[in-house]
Point group: C2
Chain length 415, copies 2
Amino acid sequence: MSTSPEAPRSYAESLRLFARASRVIPGGIYGHTSPALTVPGKFPNFATHAEGGRYWDADGNEFLDFMCGYGPIVLGYNHPEVEAAAEKQRRDGDCFNHPTEATVLLAERLAALTGLGWAVFGKNGSDMTTWAVQVAREFTGRKKILRVRGGYHGSHAWCSPGHGGIIPEDREHVHVFQWNDPDTLRDLLARHRGQVAALIASPYHHPAFGDSALPAPGFWATVEELCRRDGVLLICDDVRAGFRLHLGGSHQHFEFAPDLVCFSKALGNGHAISAAVGKAELKVAASRVFLTGSFWQGAVAMRAALATLEILERDDCISRMQRIGERFTAGLRAGAEKHGLRVNCSGPPAIPFMSFAADTGWQRQRDFCAEMARRGVFLHPHHNWFLCAAHTEADIDGALAAADAAFALVAAGEK
Amino acid sequence: MSTSPEAPRSYAESLRLFARASRVIPGGIYGHTSPALTVPGKFPNFATHAEGGRYWDADGNEFLDFMCGYGPIVLGYNHPEVEAAAEKQRRDGDCFNHPTEATVLLAERLAALTGLGWAVFGKNGSDMTTWAVQVAREFTGRKKILRVRGGYHGSHAWCSPGHGGIIPEDREHVHVFQWNDPDTLRDLLARHRGQVAALIASPYHHPAFGDSALPAPGFWATVEELCRRDGVLLICDDVRAGFRLHLGGSHQHFEFAPDLVCFSKALGNGHAISAAVGKAELKVAASRVFLTGSFWQGAVAMRAALATLEILERDDCISRMQRIGERFTAGLRAGAEKHGLRVNCSGPPAIPFMSFAADTGWQRQRDFCAEMARRGVFLHPHHNWFLCAAHTEADIDGALAAADAAFALVAAGEK
């Protein structure tokens, strides 16, 4: 890897592909991989290949990757054991007229790991968050859903961060409260007493364009108590954080007891899979909520998920990501301080984020991340980052060396 | 393959796995692969492997497969060229921080094949039908959606065939008309003049628990004319039929001009992918409708789709499936007639279906399909069937020999 600032990085091929894409794709690149909000011409837009904790873009630039495909890559790209398990199944087939034993094995494994009773599977996180909301409506016979302002639960109309094509009816019974502010939750519950089916939240708050916020002491206990009191089901959306904080779901890391938990991203180390896991008493209601998709019984992703869970456990990857993340975060704090910059490091160490204090318009952040990209380290300016088990201490130290240079330039620009 | 009725087929392992599944999965097996409506103990419930036009179940029973994974398998299971293209990409990686060139290539290919302007991609058919509806709402500024009674457009709340967990608001602006009955459409349009964003329909009608119905002469022309007159966008849901009737979308087979077309199933020959393709004038509105999923830029499925489209075209697979399907349908008609049974053969030859006349409760149909399964031919009692390009004339003749025996038993049972 070149982390030398002298090495010029061209993004010419990324820009050429983006121009081609723009002709045949609305917006050119849509969704979370959209380059619209990064620094034009200073970030890669198209990837070609990846290995471990690194990837290469369409111009041949190499990056130490702290986004990990926006989360799915938890063991490293192309993990040999996961890919071997997937390949073994692939030779037999993937998409059949029926499920395979892998579906049963994975449901048994997730039920055991989470301490809940059963599991179902889809392809997108959204498939599961939306279905979990429907299960709660079916179980309670109520309509209202409470969620955290700025939380993300997927692309479905009831929760999408977008406005285009959304009609008021899509969100008529969805109400928001403030993370770490139980009073705003109490207000909502009082206003809609007896009408609330579920509260959905991620295990900690990870908004886009904002610092992450861990649960305040007692917050989850209060949320749980308020939900139980009113017969409101608690849905933990662990799509983003799942399998980086605790093998059995982030609710065990933060010590609370949801009724339903949704997983996706890291579950299959990059293979498309999502899961909802629920308490035994919801099983009958769950069986009444329609759930299907053409590829949802795909056996390859199930085998990849079984292998991923096994390796995460065997190699104690979650502890490793925490240690590496702490090294990264501590180094960033120290680096910023050395250059007289004030930064906020937030989120759990394995899913870190750093922003500059008082950085109106995120300009310093974008400049910093662009300088990091120039030095071969990929960080997102306004979406939390992800570590994986393939990152090494040397990777972190290399990233911190790049950060030292990037901080210096940001500091110089402020003078 | 054993097509001998003497060969006993055990489903003991399927039943054992189903019992295990039922402990940790609501309903045991959910969705379209659910065994709930077939003959208990007379059909396989779990698959192990597949090749070409055949698959094997958990008990080692071999089946000539006329469901093709409920549609995705259009070239045959484990197609060597598709899998080679997928494998080549897989070695480089699948899920990245960015799209790859494959996304651009596939969008270019689908735009060209369909004669429309652009494409986007997801993982489920539902991802695309729902998004297309939102694009229509964004483009028109209207709320209402018209759909065909008994049509299937996926598992999202606005269109799901289920009722559990659905609230009235989910479908408040969704209205149904009758397939092949323009008067019921005219009524709806008159009642909601100026409020209808889109009409969504499959290119022909393929209800569950019913015969398929091709468009009556002039039906699509009338639908198009009525839509144009009122500024209603026409969405063709080609998820199920796509790439079995015309390489560029079934609208070209039936000669009508939708504004948006949704694909999935056969697009990647079993790899999880879906696409929406739209007219150029909708591109700006489309770019305003939020669209994303963790795995939606997955390059392996894109490469599989590019290979699938190439092979479908090169080997003229669509003509082949039509010929094979005609042989199958003609043989079934003749076989039924020989045994004095009245059957309805419906649907396009490549996506055939057969039912017994006046078969209240589908009992004869279930018995027939169970007898076919006993002879190693997998047909679904009340969901349309699918052919693939790997089926041979000999396969069809073998299936017809089994059908002769099954018809004889059904006829004997009626006496």
